[in-house]
Amino acid sequence: MSGGERPPEEFAYAVGRHVYFRYLTEEDARGDWHLWFNSPSITQNLAAQSWVNPPESQVAYLQGLRASRERLAVAVVDRATHAHIGIGSLSKIDALNRRAEMSLVIGSAAHRDGLHAMESLAMLTEIGLVRLNLHKLVATGLVISEAGLRMTRMLGYVDAGCMHEHAFVNGCWVDCVYLEIFQRDWLASPRRPKTLAWVPPKP
């Protein structure tokens, strides 16, 4: 599919108060998405840091995504402006053991206010543990990504371990924290979104 074809908000995969999720397009891959993964300010916070990332690599990645049943990735879109602001994913989806790894990147600096990220994390968790009926989600975060780690814990994820000296960032070895959440705990959590369905805006 070429770029420019996007679903209207009411047909989005999931809708929250500040963001909605939709499928990713080639326009996204050639646009800000590939640039985010060239930005040291973003990649230094990722446990898996990347090399240079030209648009062709991002398009190839997108094509791989479409063929995969082990990875669900969505565009995170700001509801107010319909701007593509980030990427959310559930990867390593294991249908037998009912687990997956959750991750989120808010690439747009203007939307790093905490609310967009926290809602996106909650929506990804809801999709994994309720819509996909997984038993457990795991997440990882470098200790230098303080806001992301604390936000994830606020949603009910608990520390399950630490991978020491896991990433080399700005000349220093950095530990990576491993977090997990179980479906039974999420179902009782006040941090669950009430719905992922589109609700018409108030007039």
């Binding site: 929250g16 108060r17 500040h18 808010i106 203007a110 790093r112 206010d113 905490g114 609310l115 990220a117 926290m118 809602e119 909650a122 303080e146 806001a147 992301g148 604390r150 936000m151 606020m154 006040p190 941090r191 669950r192 979104p193 009430k194």
Partner: protein
Amino acid sequence: MTVTLSELIAEILKVPVHSVTDDTAPGNTPGWDSLATVNLIAALEERYAIQLSLDELMELTNVGAVRALLTARGIAG
């Protein structure tokens, strides 16, 4: 000594308390980033012994909204 909501938020945002108004928001306050939001949520929940739902958290778009939330919870900020 009782710390007012404005003083609490000023401390989190590292700005003078007189600059904190109901319109103070991430979009007009350079220090209000994702870490400041996390610190604000943690401070509100600890100070007022409350647990905020996701819906409530998503409404915290400016200081006025924080004040309105506390009022709705029967808390004088």
